[in-house]
């Protein structure tokens, strides 16, 4: 890891006070800013930072900047705000190529014009960028049915500190030439290189859609009903169990303590069939089916719920799906919770005072097949929370990969797992 001399002149542009505040990370402020025009430009910028060396924090839309440990150093804010082009899009191929800084909402609008979409729904699509979604591996509520970012990225161009742009994958949906380095960069928080261009698979917009709510007095039967549907052929495209407070935070009220909300999608006729099936499963589990129409903002609010602002802390448990009923029993009464039974994901919103004890309790409940991370927390909480938990198996390889691709440790130093 390089150490920067105190007198070194930093590369990059002067930064305004307003931008400095806007681009602060965990209360650290950048000294300079870079906003490259394209992949090659990004690589040139990184090369300058590497030679200095100056540490870089990469910015997309900023919706996931509360994820990860505080950076060890922060010199340059490296923003993808100028890299917003849709480079290629052939609807009949169901593929597209975009620059990392393209906002999700703009990509979805371009696809929607052709009756298509990317079935990934990270929070705050009006700000979130495609590159940010890739770097933070931000998966929304559709993950159990449609998979995660790794299932839709078919190629990338990455700018490395060496000053080179290197590609992996390609533009076709089926391709096994060379190593699948897309996987390495998805969820790496930009610690191995700056993802500059992304090639994606897309899909046709579903022909039919429906929502079903099932109300329950306890979490366990709601989760069990969600699991049963997840194991069926007509699996919901989103399946979440909310406690009363989370439901309220998503704009709905209910007299019941727990609600299973199901989004059903498919070809014409499939959503109706799925609704019948879901209603039956809810009733069999002792729940009450609500047929009332939902406000259209409900699913958007549920999607954005996992990226809160302010003082709130979001804890995320990822566990084998069969372990969820047990895990949901460990949720403290003061927390609000959204469980994705089919994905094995449990999100908890807690206030700062109860964050640390809750994190500890969840980690001990998660068992050795599960893990609990701090997905979003204010700067003030980061010093008292172990945001990633213990390093995973294979961590020495991860550290060696970091050393191989970013030998001077300039990329997001310290923010990733195990201090990478």
């Amino acid at each position: 890891m390089g150490v920067r001399a105190g007198t070194t002149v930093l590369p990059g542009h002067q930064i305004t006070l307003a931008d400095q505040r806007r681009l602060s990370v965990d209360d650290l402020l950048p000294s300079k800013i870079m906003h490259p025009a394209d992949a090659e430009d990004a690589a040139r910028g990184l090369r300058l930072c590497d030679l200095t060396p100056a540490s870089v924090v990469i910015w997309g839309g900023g919706t996931q900047m509360r994820l990860g440990a505080p950076p060890r150093r922060y010199d340059i804010a490296f923003s993808t705000e100028r890299m917003t082009r849709l480079l290629e899009y052939e609807p009949a191929d169901l593929t597209c190529r975009v620059e990392a800084g393209m906002r999700m909402i703009d990509l979805q609008a371009a696809l929607r014009a052709q009756g298509q979409r990317l079935p990934l729904d990270p929070p705050h699509p009006e700000r979130a960028t495609v590159g940010g979604m890739v770097a933070a591996n931000t998966n929304g509520l559709g993950r159990a049915r449609y998979g995660t970012v790794r299932d839709w990225v078919i190629g990338i161009a990455v700018a490395y500190p060496s000053g080179k742009v290197a590609r992996a994958g390609g533009k076709v949906v089926k391709n096994v030439a060379g190593y699948d380095l897309m996987k390495l960069h998805i969820g790496a928080l930009g610690t191995l290189g700056v993802v500059a261009e992304i090639n994606l698979k897309v899909q046709a917009t579903p022909e039919s859609e429906a929502t079903v709510l099932g109300h329950f007095e306890a979490a366990t039967p709601a989760v069990a009903a969600g699991l049963q549907l997840a194991r069926s052929y007509l699996a919901p495209s989103a399946s979440i169990v909310l406690d009363r407070r989370a439901l309220w935070e998503c704009g709905l009220t209910a007299d019941w303590r727990w609600t299973l909300a199901l989004k059903l999608e498919g070809y014409a006729g499939e959503a109706d069939a799925a609704r019948d099936q879901a209603s039956g499963v809810i009733r069999d589990a002792g729940g009450r089916v609500e047929a009332a129409d939902l406000p259209p903002t409900f699913w958007d609010a549920a999607r954005d719920w996992s990226a809160p602002d302010g003082d709130l802390v979001l804890l995320r448990a990822i566990a084998p799906i069969a372990a969820l009923p047990n895990l949901s029993g460990a949720v403290p009464p003061e927390a609000s919770v959204i469980i994705q039974p089919a994905a094995g994901v449990l999100d908890l919103r807690v206030t700062p005072p109860s964050a640390a004890p809750t994190l500890q309790r969840m980690r001990s409940q998660a068992g050795d097949e599960g893990q609990v991370v701090v997905a979003s927390a204010p700067a003030s909480m980061k010093s008292s929370l172990d945001v990633w938990g213990p390093p995973p198996p294979g961590f020495p390889i991860m550290r060696a990969l970091k050393q191989a691709l970013d030998p001077n440790g300039i990329l997001n130093p310290g923010r990733f797992v195990g201090g990478i």
């Binding site: 533009k171 949906v173 060379g178 390889i397």
Partner: protein, 491 residues
């Protein structure tokens, strides 16, 4: 490896697996010199571990002796992936063929690398589940091999390839460590996605000893259609038209005139002999929806030039239609003593022009080229027919293959969709990746395998990234060797 070195290494390996499961007899070595590609090279020693721990110990011993290791299970690689091109030790997973766990609760199964692909789906069937990736060789190929090549199959159009179904791996690193990476039973894991990088790395980073895979419910109904076209261009355009309507079939397979003739001669699948191209389309769904989707697809097929559309009325008819496709490669024996299978990919919309160019190559060179392929995802499998006993034909066929792969790359595609780079295409990889691209991949490889002992000679072109040249020149086909003198005839 000289005789004394080999004896010393063999003795150490026998300490791990026992006398019976490590051998170096020259006659037996010949059984392990080839796979389903034309390439051959002799190993020095073959070892059959029975457990993950044995694999790790073998890899460690070989690492200490600086001897290359080549993994092998069904050896159905079409790209020379399991040919031990630098000699050394072949580790075959034939004994590690157990399904360790079927976990319906978590929608997972845990298998050893030597489990045959189809065997897993058969074991899951009583529960109403299956494992989605289905390479055409699924009755023989193993899940370990599928992981190495990130194998696909006809139904990957909608369900994705192997990597989309692998959650975690246990691997033996070149250092001799056994590591579990990935989410195993849970969907996601923190840290870099090492599982995702290892899948498709063709055994060049680590050896997979255990695999956690996703399983999914069997579709209630599968509707299969056959659509008949006057030529491949019309059929290709129909494929794009179907996708544009918003229907994504589970599979879209195409067979051209020559293939149809071979298939009909071999398996009587019911494809019309006078057709220029046949599309096989399948949708999954609940009965009422699948029926309707089938009819909608049939209409699109007719509207886009199909002279005939036949919907399989029952499972028997469906199986008959698929039997032809799945047996297509073996049916080629009816047309030619030898054939060379290609595996290029183009964007689906570039199929008509690419097929026309392949046709022009066939015209120009006089070699017949059949096309049987996954049209839905643009994954071409041109089969170049030739006679290996005719001097010069094999070299000419390799040149044709090279030209076709270049075409695919120029059309925005790839030089391999599912077979892997292996030995066969390590020079062709340059058509899709620059030196900078390959340099990053090489750095990643060396993190796992600093001494380049894991399946060496594969994937990377010989441009200095390789430590040494292969002991046997690639492109030395078995039958040519046989023709040169009975000595080298394989059995």
């Amino acid at each position: 490896m000289d005789g004394a070195d080999r004896e010393r290494l063999l003795a150490r390996l026998r300490e791990v697996v026992g006398e019976r499961y490590a051998f170096a007899d020259p006659y037996e070595m010949r059984l392990y010199q080839y796979d389903a590609s034309p390439e051959t090279a002799l190993p020095d020693i073959v070892v059959l571990p029975g457990t993950s721990e044995e694999v790790a110990r073998i890899v460690k011993i070989c690492g200490e002796a600086k001897v290359p290791v080549t993994p092998r299970s069904a050896a159905s690689s079409l790209a020379g992936g399991t040919v031990p091109v630098q000699g050394g030790v072949v580790i075959t997973f034939a004994r590690m063929d157990r399904i360790l766990e079927i976990d319906i609760e978590n929608l997972r199964a845990v298998v050893q690398p030597g489990v045959v692909n189809l065997a897993l789906s058969q074991a899951l069937k009583p529960y109403g589940y299956y494992y989605a990736p289905d390479p055409s060789s699924q009755g023989a190929c193993t899940i370990g091999g599928n992981v190495a090549t990130n194998a696909g199959g006809p139904h990957t159009l909608i369900y994705g390839v192997t990597v989309n179904h692998v959650m975690g791996l246990e691997v033996a690193l070149p250092s001799g460590e056994l590591v579990q990476v990935g989410g195993r039973k849970s969907a996601e894991a923190i840290g870099y996605d090492l599982t995702g990088v290892l899948v498709g790395s063709e055994g060049t980073m680590a050896l997979v000893t255990r695999i956690w895979v996703k399983i999914q419910p069997l579709p209630p109904v599968q509707k299969t259609l056959m659509a008949v076209y006057p030529d491949v261009a019309t059929a290709s355009n129909a494929v794009s038209a179907i996708v544009r309507t918003g229907i994504l079939p589970a599979a879209i397979e195409m067979m051209d005139k020559l293939s149809i003739q071979a298939i009909e001669a071999a398996s009587h699948a019911g494809y019309p002999l006078d057709a220029g191209a046949v599309l096989l389309l399948e949708v999954d769904g609940i009965p009422e929806v699948a029926q309707e989707l089938g009819e909608r697809m049939a209409k699109v097929c007719r509207d886009n030039g199909a002279s005939e559309v036949r919907i399989a009325r029952n499972e028997q008819e469906r199986q008959a239609l698929w039997k032809g496709r799945k047996g297509a490669f073996s049916a080629m024996g009816r047309l030619s003593s030898d054939f060379y299978v290609m595996d290029g990919v183009v964007p689906r919309t570039k199929l008509p022009e690419t097929l026309a160019k392949i046709d022009a190559i066939s015209e120009r060179t006089g070699f017949k080229i059949c096309n049987v392929f996954h049209a839905g995802d643009g994954n071409l499998h041109p089969l170049v027919l030739f006679d290996a006993f005719q001097p010069g034909q094999y070299e000419a066929v390799l040149a044709i293959g090279d030209e076709i792969l270049k075409l695919c790359a120029q059309a925005g595609g790839s030089v391999t969709g599912e077979h892997g780079i292996g030995l066969e295409k390590r020079e062709n990889i340059r058509y899709v990746f620059s030196d900078d691209d390959l340099e990053v991949m090489d750095r990643v490889r060396r993190v796992f395998d600093p001494h380049l002992l894991m399946n060496p000679g594969k994937i990377f072109p010989g441009n200095g990234l390789q430590p040494s040249a292969p002991r046997y020149p690639p492109g030395f086909p078995r039958r040519q060797a046989a023709a040169a003198g009975g000595e080298d005839l394989w059995v």
